[in-house]
C-alpha cells in the first residue's frame, strides 16, 4: 500500500536518506586488521587483504543511543526501552487485545539494523512508540524497518502514526516493495499535527514467527521532501477497538510521581 506515486517515493527515499546520513556512526572494524582500533565514520575503510580465512563474524562500533539524535521518537532505535521492570519508556509492548502490558524483548548487535538493540515482535503483539509532533507546523516523515522471516510478506507488520492522546490514526505507512539488506522498509509522510505523534505497530505474523523491528524515525518534513496529504487511514473496526484499549491503559496508568531512589544492588 502506498499513498505516493512511485517517482515521488523514490525522491522521498533519497531525501530521507540524506536526513539520516551524517548521523550514522556505525563502522565496520575489520577483524583481519586492527580490530581494536576505531576510526572516524568519515574515514574510508581500506580494502581487506585477500585471505583464505572466511571470518565467522565481523565487528562494528555503533552508538549505544542509536540514531538519529534529532528523532521525534523518545527511543526510535530501541536502545533505552529494554529493562527488568516497567516504566514510561520510549517503547512499550502490549498483548493482542491491548489490555495488558508485556515485557519488551530484544535482539542485539549486528542482528539489528542500527544501534546495539532492536525489538522482537511476535504474533499479535502491539508496540507503542512515544513521540512528539514536529515544531513550526511542519509535516512529518516516518520510517521503520522490520526483518520478517523468509516467505512472509512485509505487510504482515503494520506501522501506524497516531495522535498520542486520542490514538486517532494519522497515517498507516506504506511498505517499500523491495527489501533493504533483508529488512522491510515502512515509510511515509503525513500532515502537521498540533497533538503529539506516536507510532502504533501491529502484526499478523504466523505463530512462532518473529519480526525484528528497528531504526524507527519520526522527523519533521522540512520541505526537502514533497508529500501529499492523505485521508485518515481506513482501519478495521477491531483494530480501532484494540487501539482504544491500549490508549486507555496507557492513559490510566500514566505516572505522576516521585523518582525512585538509587541504591546499589545486593
Amino acid at each position: 500500500m502506498s499513498f505516493l506515486p512511485r517517482s515521488k517515493t523514490a525522491f522521498f527515499a533519497a531525501a530521507f536518506a540524506i536526513y539520516l546520513s551524517g548521523c550514522n556512526v556505525a563502522e565496520e572494524v575489520n577483524p583481519a586488521e586492527t580490530s581494536s582500533t576505531t576510526t572516524s565514520s568519515t574515514t574510508t575503510q581500506p580494502e581487506p587483504e585477500p585471505s583464505a580465512v572466511v571470518p565467522k563474524r565481523t565487528v562494528f562500533v555503533r552508538n549505544p543511543l542509536g540514531e538519529p539524535a534529532a528523532n521525534l521518537l523518545v527511543d526510535g532505535d530501541f536502545e533505552l526501552s529494554i529493562t527488568a521492570g516497567g516504566g514510561q519508556y520510549g517503547w512499550r509492548k502490549f498483548n493482542s487485545g491491548g489490555s495488558v502490558e508485556i515485557a519488551m524483548t530484544a535482539e542485539t548487535g549486528g542482528l539489528c539494523r542500527t544501534g546495539l538493540t532492536c525489538a522482537r515482535f511476535k504474533k499479535g503483539e502491539i508496540m507503542f512508540g512515544r513521540g512528539t509532533a514536529a515544531a513550526l507546523n511542519k509535516g512529518h516523515v516516518m520510517s521503520v524497518y522490520a526483518r520478517v522471516p523468509e516467505g512472509i510478506a512485509c505487510q504482515k507488520v503494520n506501522v501506524i502514526a497516531v495522535e498520542c492522546d486520542t490514538f486517532k490514526p494519522l497515517k498507516a505507512s506504506a511498505t517499500e516493495p523491495d527489501l533493504e539488506n533483508g529488512f522491510c522498509h515502512y515509510k511515509d509522510t503525513f500532515a502537521p499535527s498540533s497533538s503529539a505523534v506516536c507510532l502504533y505497530l501491529t502484526n499478523t505474523l504466523p505463530a512462532d514467527a518473529v519480526a525484528i523491528v528497528d531504526s524507527a524515525v519520526l522527523a519533521p518534513n522540512d520541505g526537502t521532501v514533497p508529500y501529499q496529504y492523505s485521508l485518515e487511514p481506513d482501519l478495521p473496526a477491531g483494530t480501532l477497538l484494540t487501539m482504544q484499549n491500549v490508549r486507555d491503559l496507557i492513559h490510566r496508568t500514566t505516572r505522576f510521581e516521585k523518582p525512585a531512589p538509587s541504591v546499589p544492588p545486593p
Binding site: V61, N63, P64, L72, T108, A133, A134, S194
Partner: protein, 701 residues
C-alpha cells in the same frame, strides 16, 4: 552554588590535569578478534572465562533458596565468541547469577568486560572483602563500549575497579537478564590490568579537595565517580552520544517555565561533555546537567558511594523557630529548620523542637541546594521557591535522603527542653564523625511531627509510605464528628476499585454519611496517577475541567504558551483530548474539608489544584506545592543507570502554564518551634480550628 568545586570545573580543566593516571583514558577495548573472527583475550588479561567448562559461581550465604540453583546452561556451538562454549542464562525474578573472577593476589586495578547477546544484560562487578579487612565492598556497573558483532554479540565493560588483592573474599560478575526471549548468552568474561591499586581516601564533607576531580566525598570516604558509571565513550562515539542526550532533552524536557529558565544551562553542561577525559567527567556531567534542570520528576540516579558510616535517626521540617530567632535570626530567604521527630538512639541527642541552624556553616537549605553539583539524583521542587524536598532529605534513612550523613562535616544546633518549653540559645556544633555508627530505630520523614487519630496511628518510625491511616480525630467529640486520613500515595493505577481508589472511595462514602468535618493529611505526597486526585475532588466540588495535560511534550521543544491567550487556546483545544476532570454532581457542599500539605508533588500537585477554590475546602501549608505539573519519560541505559525526564506541562482553565508554579495554600501555616516543644502540630491545630468554625450542620430529624 559553589562554582569552585571540582565537579563544576570539570568541563574547563586542561587535559593535563587528568593525564597522570591510567584510570583516565577513554574507553579502550579489551581483547581483539583474530582473522577467523574468534575473540582473543587481551595481552593484559589476568583472568579470562571462555565458558568451555562449567564456570565457577558465587552464591551469597543469605540467598533466597529459589535463587541458589544455577540460572544458566553451558552451550557448545560454533558461534561462541571465543572457543566453542558460552552460557545461556535465564535468571528468575528477584534473583541474580554470579560468575566468579579469579583476580591476582597483588593489589591492582582491573577492567572487567563480557560479551552478551539476544537480550539486555544488567551487569555489575562486585568485590567483597573479608570481614577482617574492614574494607567496604565495591559495586561497579558495566556499560556498552559500542563494539558489536555481526552475529549479535555486544561488548559490555566496566571502568577500572581497584582491588586489594589479598583481602578479597570474592570478586564476581553479577548478571540479571531482561528482554531475553530465549535466554541471554554470555561469553568472554575478562579481567584486564588497568593501572595501580587506588587507595580510597578518607575525607570530610562533600567539598573536600582531597578527593580530587574524579571523586566525591560521600559517607566520609572519597567515592570514585567512575565506579558508579559506565566507561567513557570512545572518541568515535563521544560526539554522537552527546548529540543523542542533548537531542532528547532539547526535544522532550519540561514545560514553559522549566524549559525557559533551566534548559540552556543544562544543554551547555551537556555540550561540555564532548571534552570529557574521564568517565566521571562525561557521565557526572550528564548527572549535573540533569540536576540543573531542577525538576521534581527529573533525575539520573547513580549509586555513588558505599554504605553509610554513621546514622542520624532524625527528621527535619521547615518551620518558625519562634523561641530562638532572637539569638539566631531567621534567614531572609529560607525558613527555619527544626527537628520534627527523632529516635531516642542514634539521633545525636536531637529531639523534636531542636533547631538546626547550620550545616557546614551555611543555612541547612542553602547547604542542601549547593549539593546539586555533587549529588547525583539531587531531588528538588520544580517551583524554585519551594525547598521542602531538600529539607526533608537532610535526615532520614540513607536510601531516602540522609544528606547530612552523606555529605556534611558538621551540623550546628540549638537544643531545647520540651519539659520546660525553653531553648538554651547556645549554638552547639557537632562533627558528623561523632555520630553513632549503628543502633536505634530508623525514622522516616513525612513532615508530620505528630499523629492525631484516637486509635490506629502510624508507628513512631513514621512509616506511612503506601499505607492508609484513618479514623476519628483525637480530642474531638462524637458530636463534632471530625474524621481524617493520613496517606502519601495517589497511585490509583487506573483501577477504580484498587487499593488506593478503593480506600479513598470507602472513606468518602463514610465521610459523606457521618462526618461533619474532614482532615486530609497529605504532607508527604509522592504523587501517583491522576485518577486518585480526580476521585478525591468528587467529594468537594461540582464537575469541571480544571486543566488540560499537554504531556509528554506535545510539540517538539515547545516552550510555550507565552501568553494567557495562547494558553486559553491550548486549553480549549485539549479540553476534550486530555482533560484533568474534577468534581462530581453529588459532591457534599456542606462538608468542610481541610487539606494539609507540605512536601507534595506531581499527582499531589494536582490534588490541591483540583480542590483549590472548592466551596467548603481550605488548604493549609507553609508554602506552595512542588509545581511538578507534568508526567515523565524513562530511559534505561543498559542497566547502568536510568534517566527520568519530565515532559510536558499543564494548562489551567485560566490559560496558565503550571509547571514550576506550585499550588498556593489558602492559609499559610508554619510549624512553630514552641508548638513542637508543647507536643502540638501547628498545621493540624489550624485546620482543626477552621473545621470547628465550619462544621457541617446537623441533620434535623
Amino acid at each position: 552554588m559553589k562554582s569552585t568545586h571540582p565537579l563544576a570545573m570539570r568541563s574547563t580543566l586542561p587535559i593535563l590535569a587528568f593525564a597522570a593516571t591510567s584510570l583516565t583514558s577513554a574507553a579502550t577495548f579489551a581483547g581483539e578478534f583474530a582473522a577467523s573472527g574468534d575473540y582473543q583475550a587481551g595481552a593484559e588479561a589476568v583472568d579470562f572465562v571462555s565458558f568451555e567448562t562449567e564456570p565457577a559461581r558465587y552464591v551469597p550465604t543469605d540467598a533466597d533458596p529459589s535463587c541458589v540453583p544455577p540460572a544458566f546452561t553451558l552451550v557448545t556451538a560454533p558461534d561462541a565468541l571465543s572457543g566453542e562454549g558460552f552460557v545461556n542464562l535465564k535468571v528468575q525474578p528477584n534473583c541474580a547469577e554470579r560468575f566468579l573472577l579469579n583476580l591476582p593476589a597483588a593489589d591492582g586495578s582491573y577492567r572487567i568486560s563480557a560479551w552478551v547477546r539476544h537480550g539486555r544484560a544488567i551487569l555489575s562487578v562486585v568485590v567483597l572483602y573479608t570481614d577482617e579487612s574492614g574494607l567496604a565492598r565495591t559495586v561497579t556497573p558495566l556499560g556498552p563500549t559500542g563494539r558489536v558483532t555481526s552475529d549479535g554479540w555486544v561488548e559490555m565493560a566496566s571502568n577500572e575497579v581497584p582491588v586489594r588483592g589479598e583481602q578479597v573474599n570474592a570478586a564476581y560478575l553479577r548478571v540479571i537478564d531482561a528482554g531475553a526471549a530465549d535466554g541471554l548468552d554470555i561469553d568472554a568474561l575478562e579481567a584486564v590490568t588497568a593501572g595501580e591499586f587506588e587507595e580510597q581516601k578518607a575525607c570530610k564533607g562533600a567539598w573536600d579537595p582531597v578527593c580530587g576531580l574524579d571523586a566525591v566525598c560521600v559517607h566520609g570516604a572519597c567515592a570514585a565517580g567512575r565506579l558508579a558509571v559506565p566507561p567513557l565513550p570512545s572518541d568515535a562515539l563521544i560526539n554522537p552520544m552527546v548529540d543523542g542526550f542533548a537531542g532528547r532533552i532539547r526535544t522532550f524536557f519540561g514545560g514553559a517555565r522549566s524549559r525557559k529558565e533551566r534548559l540552556p544551562q543544562a544543554l551547555a553542561t551537556i555540550e561540555a561533555m564532548r571534552k570529557a577525559q574521564t568517565a566521571w567527567q562525561f557521565w557526572g556531567g550528564l548527572a549535573r546537567a540533569t540536576n540543573q534542570l531542577a525538576d521534581w520528576h527529573t533525575s539520573m540516579g547513580l549509586p555513588l558511594g558505599g554504605d553509610p558510616k554513621y546514622i542520624l535517626n532524625a527528621c527535619f521540617i521547615e518551620g518558625s523557630a519562634d523561641l530562638t530567632q532572637t539569638g539566631w535570626p531567621k534567614h531572609p530567604l529560607y525558613a527555619d529548620v527544626l527537628v520534627s521527630h527523632a529516635a531516642t538512639i542514634g539521633a545525636a541527642g536531637l529531639n523534636a523542637g531542636d533547631r538546626l541552624v547550620a550545616v557546614d556553616g551555611q543555612h541547612p537549605i542553602a547547604w542542601a541546594r549547593s549539593l546539586a553539583d555533587v549529588n547525583p539524583g539531587h531531588h528538588t521542587a520544580t517551583d524554585p521557591s519551594v525547598f521542602a524536598d531538600l529539607t526533608e532529605a537532610l535526615g532520614g534513612p540513607f536510601w531516602g535522603g540522609a544528606l547530612i550523613i552523606k555529605y556534611a562535616k558538621t551540623i550546628s544546633v540549638i537544643r531545647c527542653n520540651a519539659a520546660q518549653g525553653t531553648c538554651d540559645g547556645k549554638v552547639e556544633t557537632l562533627d558528623v564523625s561523632s555520630f553513632t555508627q549503628t543502633g536505634g530505630q530508623e525514622v522516616y520523614c513525612d513532615n508530620r511531627p505528630f499523629y492525631h487519630f484516637k486509635t490506629g496511628n502510624p508507628g513512631s518510625n513514621h512509616a506511612v509510605f503506601y499505607n492508609f491511616f484513618s479514623g476519628q480525630i483525637k480530642n474531638t467529640t462524637d458530636e463534632e464528628a471530625i474524621y481524617g486520613v493520613v496517606w502519601d500515595t495517589l497511585y490509583g493505577g487506573g483501577d477504580p476499585n484498587g487499593y488506593v481508589n478503593g480506600n479513598l472511595k470507602k472513606l468518602m462514602t463514610q465521610w459523606k454519611a457521618s462526618a461533619r468535618g474532614v482532615i486530609l493529611d497529605h504532607r508527604a505526597g509522592s504523587g501517583g496517577t491522576l485518577d486518585a486526585p480526580e476521585l478525591l475532588t468528587r467529594l468537594v466540588r461540582p464537575p469541571d475541567v480544571a486543566a488540560v495535560n499537554l504531556m509528554p511534550i506535545v510539540i517538539a521543544g515547545y516552550s510555550g504558551p507565552d501568553t494567557v491567550e495562547e494558553g486559553l487556546l491550548l486549553f480549549d483545544k485539549f479540553k476534550s483530548k486530555s482533560p484533568y476532570n474534577v468534581g462530581a454532581p453529588d459532591y457534599d457542599p456542606d462538608l468542610p474539608v481541610a487539606l494539609l500539605l507540605h512536601r507534595d508533588g506531581s499527582a499531589s500537585d494536582y490534588l490541591p489544584l483540583g480542590m483549590k477554590g472548592a466551596p467548603n475546602t481550605r488548604i493549609f501549608a507553609p508554602h506552595p506545592t512542588a509545581g511538578a505539573f507534568s508526567t515523565f519519560v524513562n530511559m534505561a541505559y543498559y542497566g547502568a543507570f536510568e534517566i527520568q525526564l519530565a515532559s510536558g506541562d499543564t494548562i489551567t482553565s485560566q490559560g496558565d502554564a503550571k509547571i514550576g508554579h506550585g499550588v498556593e495554600p489558602d492559609e499559610v501555616v508554619a510549624q512553630r518551634q514552641s508548638d513542637l516543644l508543647a507536643g502540638k502540630d501547628s498545621l493540624h491545630e489550624a485546620a482543626l480550628t477552621w473545621l470547628r468554625d465550619h462544621l457541617k450542620p446537623l441533620e434535623t430529624p
